[in-house]
Symmetry: C2
Subunit: 479 residues, 2 copies
């Protein structure tokens, strides 16, 4: 038992130090490693397998809606980045610049892409001529660089992986529809695949993407009450099209500017999984992205027939699930702890008595609940158990989100919650960014998350300045 204990003891309890708990999980579950390259991480096989599952799921959602994948250059010449004024102001401070190529100083320095609106626009200018060329529904899976001073694996690194959709449309209406459609794709992906509920809504003027007309966001709440921006979807109007001179001939033979969107989800989503579902025994992975959905652990594996039965079961389940049999020499107890730490959603135990009874035991990672299931219809049993894990994870996260969301009717109340109760604060707002600035200053970092789609009129006046309220805003601290 001492070995098992040691394994679990390596993880700092959440309540003691959430940040350290997070780092411990990333390291002990072998998701990522620090690299000697400042601000960059190594995504290890177990972490990358989660990302591959995220990619497969999102990519098929995109393709079902008609999106096509492309690949744009890594570099953006400075003059190209500068074409849209707000955009360059937003991103220039965090750019990494290539100034030397092939041993010669470049005449124009190149930014390593922090996002690719400018590159897509340059290409769209070449290929969009007529309404027949619209819509263009492109997406790209790639790496991105935004220079960061302090970094944490998955949450904030100078380089990260993501997908960025960039679309062009004939009309404002169509582009606005696409912006919202993709936000809901993200909402569904978070709910159905990651088992993560979230608030969705529109960013305030102050918090929107550099160059966008509107930014929509999905804001799941982490276990400790802190928000993580899970994905964003932007409506650009025709601002970039005008800046880049992209025009098309419409159905009435008029020259017009097309309307644009972009939307992205990154490897931060892995950070969201860790901090939404994990516990003091380690990671808990939603079945939708778990590299191993079922870990089979033979009990008393030295007894005749146990390993054979376990292997047979593995082969049978492998047709429908991502399954692994651990027949190594470690003790069953050690294996239990190990795969709990790795967050495998379902453990299947099989020993001599189970074999005798033509059954096995399924253990849910989040609840540790044990179920005896007949081997006759084990596929159905495993499927149902994985679905239960997903529902349990979603329900827990939803409870956390509800329990840690507070309404503030006065500024004193707001400051008190901000100081003492980690979570989201729902409060009315006048629409002026100076109130956002004041709140941020006086709470040491609470910011507007979004104007939620499910707005409620909980008061008539701005919680901060008392002027007439325009909107309800969800406020919170963020990663």
């Amino acid at each position: 038992m001492s070995e098992e204990k040691r394994l679990v003891e390596q993880i700092t309890p959440m309540d003691v130090d959430f940040a350290q708990w997070y780092t411990d999980i990333v390291k002990k579950a072998e998701l990522a490693d620090y690299s000697g390259v400042k601000g960059c991480m190594v995504i290890r096989p177990y972490g990358y397998a989660i990302w591959e599952n995220i990619q497969r799921d999102l990519d098929s959602r995109f393709k079902k809606l008609g999106h096509e994948n492309v690949y744009m250059p890594l570099f953006i010449p400075e003059s190209l980045l500068q074409k849209e004024k707000e955009h360059v102001e937003g991103f220039a401070p965090e750019c990494a610049w290539v100034t030397i190529g092939g041993q010669t100083e470049l005449t124009e320095r190149l930014c390593v892409r922090p996002t690719s609106e400018t590159l897509f626009c340059e290409h769209y200018k070449n290929i969009i001529h007529s309404y027949r060329d619209l819509p263009k529904l492109y997406n790209q899976w790639c790496n991105i660089v935004r220079w960061e001073k302090t970094t944490r694996p998955f949450l904030r690194t100078s380089e990260f992986l993501w997908q960025e959709g960039h679309t062009m449309h004939e009309t404002e209406e169509e582009a606005r529809e696409e912006t919202i459609r993709m936000l809901y794709v993200y909402r569904d992906f978070y709910a159905e695949t990651l088992a993560i509920p979230a608030i969705i809504g529109r960013k305030t003027e102050k918090e929107k993407f550099a160059g966008a007309v509107e930014t929509y966001t999905i804001e799941p709440m982490m276990h400790n009450g802190v928000a993580l921006q899970g994905g964003t979807s932007h409506y650009f109007g025709d601002g970039f099209a005008r800046a880049f001179g992209i025009t098309y001939t419409d159905r009435n033979n008029q020259i017009r500017y097309p309307f644009q969107t972009s939307w992205g989800v990154s490897t931060r989503s892995i950070g969201a999984i860790i901090m939404t579902h994990g516990d003091d025994s380690g990671l808990i992975l939603p079945p939708g992205v778990a590299p191993i959905q079922v870990i089979i652990i033979p009990v008393a594996q030295h007894k005749p027939g146990v390993l054979e039965a376990a292997a047979k079961l593995r082969d049978r389940l492998a047709e429908k699930f991502r399954v692994k049999l651990d027949d190594s020499d470690y003790s069953a107890g050690w294996k239990f702890s190990q795969y709990e730490m790795k967050g495998v959603p379902l453990r299947l135990e099989i020993g001599p008595r189970d074999i005798e009874n033509n059954s096995c035991v399924l253990v849910s990672r989040p609840t540790r609940e044990k179920t005896v299931v007949s081997l006759d219809n084990i596929e159905d049993g495993v499927k149902a158990a994985l679905e239960r894990v997903h529902r349990e994870l979603y329900a827990r996260a939803e409870k956390n989100l509800k329990d840690k969301t507070y309404d503030a009717h006065s500024y004193d109340e707001f400051l008190d919650i901000a100081k003492n109760k980690p979570g989201y604060i729902r409060a009315m707002w006048c629409g002026d960014s100076s109130c956002e600035d004041r709140i941020k200053d006086e709470t040491d970092g609470v910011k507007s998350r979004c104007i939620p789609f499910e707005e409620e009129h909980i008061a008539n006046h701005c919680v901060c300045c008392g002027r007439p309220a325009e909107h309800m805003v969800v406020w919170g601290r963020q990663y």
Copy 2:
């Protein structure tokens, strides 16, 4: 017909100007576009879909052999790149350097990875301690930057996409086996998926990878007789392990250095597909990677029942093949030319008479051969026809490779072939790189491709200097 003619006429015939023919195909088949970023290309949806099919195929071959995917940083600090002397000397001249990050001059400049041996080694140093940690069989899908002055889409660009496998092993023997195993994986992939035969062998000392002990290569011949390095597999010995201080405790409790390999295939393989199979009507894609394997073109589509029958057929075939129905208003003739140019391996025509006969017509892209197939077992008919296309493409390319491979027994003969007959030259070699230099100079670019695995002793003396011959070498010009 004039529209159709124009479509085909846009492609310069191969025999007139092979380079222009290549560029025309890349552009007209919408595989890639030039970008305003010097040396970088835009991979368009049709080209990227080919890359996705290549990735899926190779990735499953790797995973079947136990390889795992990871992700390493984009940047290599200069000091890290310099740890292995030969390696840095080989790559430093083509590095792109980041010197400014987040508006401040960096204290150490960062190279945008031209290959990732150094990053993998740095990580391996952290995670390899015991023989139990070996082998490590890692692979990475990513972008790579090697600064180029003159560029051509897919063949030579400053940025390209690839996979790079990096493995570590307990013994030299095991690492050498891995090196050869992965070369054969590439050979099989090229043959079975791309329908491209190739010569495989070992690079000479002069041509091997910077820092490698041995480099193995797969060298398919393009239609015009020029070689394209299709993939390489390197054995490193323990050179990098020593330079990076990677050690492990072996089974006898001794501290040892592990043995290393790396191997890669890039988006150049798309260039190989174009130049191996294409003809004057456009691209020809092997069914294994074609984004559309079967294009269904309704004939006399205004007649009642034609579009319905075509759509029904599409839905039926879509369960087993990548299939598209073009029911647009363009003429059937225009569509024929269009999908020939796009290289769709199989065309399926269905019109009123076919429907009456419960049949359809299949047309092979490479041979234009027509086959009437019953709709009853259309799936089998399509499967057989696609297999025939694959065999036909492989056979053509194999004939081209054989027809354009010449034996040279004297230096005069060598120079004559090099001047007048594009292709490979098989000739004996003394083992001295000065003969390689002389040949390159006196033939304006003919280089040693490899010492082929299927070596023949065709003479006793070096074709260049007359000294005793060590090996047969396959020589040729390259992309």
